[in-house]
Amino acid sequence: MGEQQRPVADLTTDYDIMDPGFVRDPFPAFDEIRESACPIAHTERWGGSWMPTRYEDIVAIAQEHETFTSRGILVMPPVPGAAEGAYGAVAAPPITSDPPDHHWHRRLILPVFSPQSVAKYEQGTRDLCNSLIDEFIGKGTADAAGDYAQHIPVRVIATMLGVPLEMETEFTSWVRGVLEQGMTDPELRQASRMNIIRFFVEQLEDRKRNPRENDLITDLLNAKVEGAVVDDIYVLGVCNLMLVAGVDTTWSAIGSTLWHMAQHPEHRRMLRERPELWPQAVEELLRVYAPVTMARIVDHDVEHQGCPMKAGDRVLMSFPAANRDPRQFERPDEVDFEREHNRHVAFGAGIHRCAGSNLARLELRVALQTWLERIPEFELVDPSSVTWAGGQVRGPRRCMVRFPTVATPA
């Protein structure tokens, strides 16, 4: 697409979220916009959007769901015609829902994601991480993103949904088709979406013929709201979302934090010596390496902080930018496991706060702990060869590291 090629004239009026330099490292651009006279930038590129960069503005937009609706939550405009056809009405509840329906769309899935409920995935996640490490620990080198991080969340979600783990490769390519390559390729985005929906249509048919015990899809199909069984289209939408929201996001967080740890022996040592820091270290890493940017559609013309926003305009909520605002966080670019004030919004804010956040934290902690136990010392092979995905979800896609082959016991 030509749009990417034209150089950016002025970040506050012409930013390009797909610019290769921005994808690799968006933080200098966020800083420049945030400290300019115009901290809410605007661009005509990619269908046009607004991009606030201050914590306060981003959180306000997330919390004011009546003005900033979830009719469109992707950072790119919708694929023309995607809402028509057989499965055109399948959405991704609750992320694409607005009140009043959002309330029950979210309520039905919250119990499976409470801290108590997700605890049962800890041991399985640890076993999975260990088996991935077994594959490369003897080689002295590995792609921390592609050989490790990429395989963890997709298998956890497949287990949760009761769908075949052997389809991992397909699931990953469909999700990347929606959230990564498909951002600049609407045909691929639509084809990937249809692959996901067709797969879950079959899964729903299967559960209707052969209901299972303790099975999320069976339970959702039997769920009742105000006495009536929910529609299949809701269940399809939830399955679609769990795959799309649960895979790329968490994989990116695991990859970014391993990239960080590869370059910071002092942080590896700190966690080894003071394991009680783990929970807050995970929050701090989520703050600094927040992977997700979401969008909102303006409901009615408003003036927001002096910006004339029109009904239908797209507004990006860059949680990575919010989490690095020096007005909210002292020394925002520094990773500090002992930070006292950390109201980070990696998981968003307001009524759409990530429903899967307790699961995501568990996966991130277990993936890092298991790696650091087995591979306590490691470093990047070549910092300049690390590749990144960005735009909607930010994280490394290839991140080669090397380590001594006889790992010293911790």
Partner: protein, 70 residues
């Protein structure tokens, strides 16, 4: 600031959206209901030795849903 005092803590259920950062900072004081929203585990005053942790919870809640009453 001087010596530790006991404080009371409440969660405004209207603005809590279940980030669970309170329970991460002070698991002795905050828990989660079946849906993941915060509950206060302590009846009455929070023991003085937990005050620091409770303050940290307040400083980590993105929705500013925690109230500390001295």
């Amino acid at each position: 600031m001087g010596s530790l005092r006991s404080v009371r803590v409440t969660v405004d259920s209207g603005s809590c959206h279940g980030h669970q950062m309170c329970a991460i900072a002070a698991p002795e004081v905050f828990g989660s209901d079946d849906l993941g929203y915060a509950t206060v585990l302590i009846d009455g005053d929070v023991p003085a030795d937990l005050e620091k942790k409770v303050r940290r919870s307040e400083a980590n809640c993105p929705e500013r849903a925690i109230r500390i009453v001295d």
